[in-house]
Symmetry: C2
Subunit: 411 residues, 2 copies
């Protein structure tokens, strides 16, 4: 008799963004004449950079001819892309990385989800709260989260580290003993950041406690301020304790192209139950060689073009475009009297909603009264209750129109 993985039964029925989409669709069906604007899921709206599409056309042509076609890619990616990454994303910031420490993939969601495969089920996991749901749900699927305690709105074995207005969105070191910590900076969903000094506290903690930090840097390209690290490896010792996830989705508008990469330093160790040390790089290499068959050649060429001179310039233009949206959203939300966070080093704006609403209630209010789709903070965790997230990834026109509507909102 085939048995299911019963951990799946503990998960809430729908992934957050499926529920958001469901409510938005229901509204559109009920009011087909209204123009609904989505500032919800962090999906890009600008086209790919010309340097990228040029590289893709060229790669498609290579695939069209026997002499230049490419079959299976190396599991971990083509050297041309890995080298461009090392040069631009790391060496340029004074960080060394070896070729076999970089693993190209179809995106950071897959990697942050799949990384759990190489860790034992006994690890105690900590997340900041609010948090990108993938970290929690994938640990729940693997059995690391225990039971979902509905009354508490929390998983039994997950340590939640609140990040709220009250602590300036700076996570305190966990009081409980934990083994793995997910950190995402610039943060999704709050749009807030840690300074180098603040991140160093975490690196030192991990070094002292043999903790592995899973560092999601998917939004690093949006950093505008000096003292905000783009990579955790800017902090001394971090290669001994951190895996870093990177994504081209937001950096280069690749949400529909699918490419990201993960850095697993060779000096990063974890342990068996007897305390013997093992290189996580080896384990991830084995995982990817067994359950993944490489990223499409065409897409790796597209990603490579992100690092070309023209590509860099074009991509900066797009990032500036989104960050102008962020500034517009921030300004207009502040104008309503709400406390507003993020939007300076990140494409997300995190607003404290007025007293008297849950975040789903305020989501519904915005949808009904302004036809703007947002993401309710509580969807990211208990400490997200009372907040709502806006993304800056809409078109300029839609963002401006949405903000006009916000002005007339009765709070």
């Amino acid at each position: 008799m085939a048995l299911i993985n019963e951990n799946f039964l503990k998960l809430s029925g729908a992934y957050l963004f499926s529920e958001v989409a469901k409510r938005a669709t229901a509204y559109k069906e009920a009011y087909p004449d209204k123009k609904v604007i989505s500032l919800s899921i962090g999906d890009v709206t600008r086209p790919l950079a010309p340097a990228v599409t040029e590289a893709m056309h060229k790669a498609v042509e290579e695939m069209a001819h026997a002499e230049t076609m490419r079959g299976y890619a190396p599991d971990a990616g083509y050297p041309f892309l890995i080298e461009a990454i090392i040069r631009n994303d790391f060496n340029a910031r004074g960080i060394e990385a070896d070729r076999d420490e970089i693993f190209i993939s179809d995106g950071a969601k897959s990697d942050t989800g799949n990384i759990g495969d190489i860790f034992g089920c006994e690890n105690k996991v900590a997340v900041t709260d609010p948090v990108y749901p993938v970290y929690v749900d994938t640990n729940a699927m693997a059995g690391r989260a225990g039971e979902y305690l509905a009354a508490a709105g929390a998983w039994e074995h997950i340590t939640y580290i609140p990040c709220t207005m009250e602590n300036g969105f700076v996570p305190a070191l966990p009081a409980a003993e934990v083994d793995i910590v997910y950190l995402c900076y610039p943060n999704n969903p709050t749009g807030t950041t840690l300074t180098k000094e603040q991140l160093k506290v975490w690196v030192d903690y991990a070094l002292a406690n043999k903790v592995v930090i899973l560092f999601d840097a998917a939004y690093e390209a949006f950093i505008t301020e000096e003292d905000v690290p783009h990579s955790i490896y800017e902090i001394e010792g971090a290669k001994k304790i951190a895996i870093e996830f990177r994504s081209f989705s937001k950096t280069a508008g690749f949400t529909g192209v699918r490419c990201g990469y993960t850095v697993v330093p060779k000096e990063l160790m974890a342990f068996d139950k007897k305390g013997n040390r093992y290189s996580l790089n080896q384990l991830w290499q084995r995982r990817q060689a067994t359950k993944f068959n490489g990223t499409a050649y065409i897409i790796q060429r597209a990603a490579e073009a992100v690092y070309s001179k023209a590509g860099k310039k074009q991509i900066k233009g797009t990032i500036d475009y989104y960050m102008e949206n962020a500034a517009v959203i921030k300004k207009n939300l502040e104008h309503t009297g709400m406390a507003v966070y993020g939007g300076v080093n990140a494409p997300y704006i995190w607003a404290k909603i007025p007293e008297g609403y849950t975040s789903w209630e305020f989501f519904d209010k915005l949808l009904n009264e302004t036809q703007i789709v947002t993401t309710p903070g509580v969807g990211f965790g208990k400490s997200g209750e009372g907040y709502i997230r806006f993304t800056a990834f809409g078109s300029k026109e839609n963002t401006l129109e949405a903000m006009e509507r916000i002005k007339s909102l009765k709070l």
Copy 2:
């Protein structure tokens, strides 16, 4: 203290094809003047079909303009591709399928690897032997295989079903009680098939015993004989017990493009430990929504073009090309006196090697004496010892040259 998944330590150091590549590379470095021909890993050599590259160019252009660019794809794939699949791969063979039973992905290796996520760790797994290593290794990673018993060359908790010359490569129903069975037909590595009647034995067994069959049909496009099923769903009742994996890798030369799909019928059930029934479709939907972010738009358009009138014709031309290679390999190997299997409904030829050699020894002999890289049968499991696999995916010229060399081989 972060703990590793200790199951990884039980795996042999290298994935089979990494070891093959290592020996081939060592040979090339030692003898740089020799022309090495690989008939090993099943990687295609023909270019993409013109209909496919045309569709890709068009999709790249769409991504280059704001009005037509696409962000995140639906997790399970775009309706245009799902509908083409249902029409062509299923309806055309008298099989019904709903849209939400088809899940587009980056390939069958990912899907056959990841499918384990939705099953409990307690399931007893059976595989045919020899077998595609991914099925076994991914179950070992999940802890379903128990310990590797080196002396036996087998995993403690895996039930192996030998497929050899002696039983005509037809797997017998397992004597032991099992919960999940992997079947791959046309078979990789042996190139052999099951008739409808032979496959029906398995479907009836699964129905009677609440077993789930994970049916890998990645090579169905190579079937030339009438009585060989292209899909397990050609057998009555199979939608109640089988998940089917399909791939564009071999069908359409997509090894470097990455696209496949998995069919999880809604009527397919598995159980919790109390015997309650759950739809695996729901679980896989949740898994993919959480750990996967869809397949690139460009690549889904490429796959759609496989089903266009021009695409079908072009792809048939390429398949015929490879099957001519298969016939050449089969004929020439038979000429050496070896017993030869496969190559009629599959692009693999499975040869019984002469007495006195292990399959790695014969691999080395072929490499040293003929500079042909093959795949040693034992790499696919204990019952593969004494065999060696050739693929038909080389170029015609290389295949002919390799076969000339085989003629001079002293056996």
